[in-house]
């Protein structure tokens, strides 16, 4: 029973990582850049939901829509202001800009919402599900997160496979120069990618803070890094990979803490990343990249 309850906790944590990892992997897969500010867009999304629910008393659905709108606008603005001017620059320059953007968002949040942590309100008015005579508790947040993961993963896969914009995204991902020559508006495609990634961040922020109801300006950073690890673990750029990597990472983290040592929880997570990268450099579901000579 202890094993089962650890497994449930692991999947619960993992599905949170997965939903954040989806945003990372989506932007990386298409724009070929690591948006390290993703975790902080999640934090902004969570704050918007918090304000909408706590101060403006909006119904839950409107809270989520408000957060998605703000995050989408924020994502597009960040992309236009910080990343677009660096389109021709080296990958390293963009990476450093993204880290700078992450700190900018954190400190702006500190200015607006202050340093005091806030406890996130519970938006889902559902009760915990008890199994096996009350020995195993499943939180409704866990089920909602898993459902959201599956819906978003399917929707993203279909969007990229079936729509015209999705096709453009795949082209940009494969060869940006050639895509431009074929008349695809690369800048717009990348902006759309950021918009979708940021809207996902708003949902991830809501789900993260619903499961772990602690909200402060640094809330997004550690889950962001873990989710990035999950995305690399599953194969960065691969949408099912992000989901698989996220869930596995969550389960590994909880099992590591429960059966090895709580002190080594994070060390185990990152050790797994190193081992996976040594054995399978492209991650579990990543496509091997052939170097042409």
């Amino acid at each position: 029973m202890v094993f089962l309850s650890n497994l449930v906790n692991g999947i619960s944590l993992g599905s949170i990582y997965a939903i954040i990892a989806l945003g990372y992997t989506m932007v990386y897969g298409i724009a070929k850049m690591l948006n390290f500010a993703h975790g902080d867009v999640i934090m902004v999304g969570a704050y918007i939901v918090f304000c909408a629910a706590q101060y403006w008393n909006l119904p839950p659905v409107l809270c989520v829509i408000a957060a998605m709108l703000v995050c989408t606008l924020l994502g597009i603005t960040i992309e236009k202001l910080a990343y677009k001017p660096l389109r021709q620059a080296t990958g390293l320059a963009v990476l450093i800009t993204a880290i700078g953007m992450s700190y900018l968002l954190q400190n702006t949040a500190l200015l607006i919402w202050g340093a005091n942590p806030k406890v996130f309100p519970s938006l889902f008015a559902l009760d915990t599900i008890w199994l096996f005579n009350g020995q195993l508790a499943i939180k409704p947040e866990t089920l909602i997160t898993i459902a959201a993961n599956i819906v978003i993963m399917t929707a993203l896969t279909l969007f990229i496979a079936k729509t015209k914009t999705g096709k453009a995204m795949r082209c940009v991902s494969e060869d940006r120069g050639a895509a431009e020559l074929m008349g695809i508006n690369v800048n717009r495609t990348i902006s759309v990618t950021f918009a979708i990634g940021s809207a996902l961040a708003a949902i991830a922020g809501l789900l993260l803070c619903s499961s772990y109801p602690q909200l402060m300006p640094t809330t997004g950073s550690m889950p962001g890094i873990k989710a990035f690890t999950a995305a690399v673990f599953g194969g960065i750029g691969s949408i099912p990979g992000a989901m698989l990597g996220g869930v596995l990472l969550g389960v590994i983290e909880i099992f590591g803490k429960a059966y090895i040592s709580t002190e080594l929880g994070d060390a185990i997570v990152f050790a797994v990343l190193i081992i996976v990268l040594l054995v399978r450099p492209t991650g579990l579901l990543g496509k091997p990249i052939r170097e042409k000579v």
Partner: protein
């Protein structure tokens, strides 16, 4: 026209002269603490508490003015030393700070070499005062809290099987845990589960499940209130309701925005300051703090408030004059601190030669969303 200007000038001179005649003692005290970053909540609280005390003293017109300098150290030892250099260049005579332990150790070493008197409101590790005669603490030391908690649990028979959840990335939490463990073993208390977390931990399900599995009836939480709130939420979600026992870091849990305070019902803690207390000093302070900063002060703010009063009293005993250099008054301040007896928001205090404060921790329990003495 010239006459008018001359008249004005003369008047100005006269005013300046009369101000100089009153000869207010101006003390330049510098506050250093984290005001941005993850620990900002503590540094902001100590700054605000100190500011209120400084303004009170300056406005009282008792011939003493406190000029409060302020620097942010972002809870980083290196930045704290830079902050220290900055305030010393601005002519600081003594330092209230630093707020958090690691920066305080770094700044304390530098201040020891340069002979600058420091009184920290909240850096509670014994490493802060060790081998440094110039650093004084106004908060309890970690060992003091750990052993006092074990003693109270034993004396009041609060639990037979104890679980501890502590932050092993934090010197404060680890320090209290270690002395708690030693004292608990001495007293024959049984610790059945010990689990840890770090500042980055979001998920507390494993720690809480371990305590529940091992049948702990009391969970000792030598941690700050933010992770404590998460532990209370995680416990309630699996229907686990032991007695929770915290230390001074638990103070603040009732004012955490969005937190369902019914979860904190029955939580016990050792704390020197209670914002709900009805004595005049506390009521005034809380009212001023709420008016200026729109929130209820925590014990960090109260400690810093007491710090300023203690420093001003000590400066009077030491005979500090306006413009005295920090290194010239340091030894006198140290001597004065050991004679000082003062009663502030956090109780009656005296200091020993090693810089540790002597005051009584009180055990409190949360009842109907308020702190009540455990003995009541």
């Amino acid at each position: 026209m010239k006459k008018i200007i001359a008249l004005v000038l003369v008047l100005c001179l006269a005013l300046a002269a009369s101000a100089a005649l009153a000869e207010d003692l101006v003390l330049k005290i510098a506050h250093i603490g984290p005001q941005t970053g993850g620990a900002a909540v503590y540094g902001l609280a100590t700054y605000r508490g100190a500011k209120i005390a400084a303004d009170e003293i300056s406005d009282a017109d008792n011939g003493i003015k406190v000029e409060l300098l302020n620097e942010d150290d972002t809870h980083d030892a290196e930045k704290a030393v830079n902050a220290y250099n900055n305030v010393m260049e601005q002519g600081a005579q003594m330092i209230v700070g630093t707020t958090t332990t690691a920066p305080c150790i770094a700044v304390g070493a530098k201040a020891f070499e340069e002979r600058v008197f420091m009184l920290t409101p909240s850096a509670s590790s014994t490493d802060v005062t060790a081998d440094k005669d110039n650093v004084y603490q106004l908060c309890f030391t970690d060992p003091n809290q750990g052993s006092a908690s074990a003693a109270v649990i034993n004396e009041k028979k609060l639990g037979t099987k104890i679980a501890v959840i502590y932050n092993n990335a934090d010197a404060y939490s680890t320090g209290i845990y270690q002395t708690f463990k030693t004292k608990a073993e001495d007293l024959g208390l049984e610790i059945v589960s010990t689990t840890t977390f770090t500042d980055e931990t979001t998920d507390f399900s494993v720690q809480v499940a371990d305590a529940k599995d091992k049948g702990a009836d009391l969970v000792f939480l030598p941690i700050y209130y933010t992770p404590a709130s998460q532990i209370l939420i995680a416990s309630s979600s699996i229907g686990y309701t032991p007695t929770f026992f915290g230390v001074d870091g638990m103070d603040g849990i009732l004012t955490l925005e969005g937190f369902d305070t019914s979860l904190a019902e029955g939580v016990m803690l050792l704390t020197p300051f209670v914002a709900d207390a009805k004595d005049e000093l506390t009521v005034n302070f809380v009212a001023k703090y709420q008016e200026q900063y729109k929130e209820v002060p925590n014990q960090f703010a109260a400690d810093a408030y007491d710090c300023i009063y203690a420093m001003v009293e000590a400066a009077k005993i030491a005979g500090v004059q306006t413009g005295d250099a920090a290194e010239d008054i340091c030894d006198n301040m140290i001597a004065a601190m050991q004679q000082l007896k003062i009663t502030g928001l956090t109780g009656a205090m005296t200091w020993s030669a090693n810089g540790e404060v002597d005051k009584v921790p009180t055990a409190m329990i949360i009842k109907d969303g308020k702190y009540v003495g455990l003995d009541n």
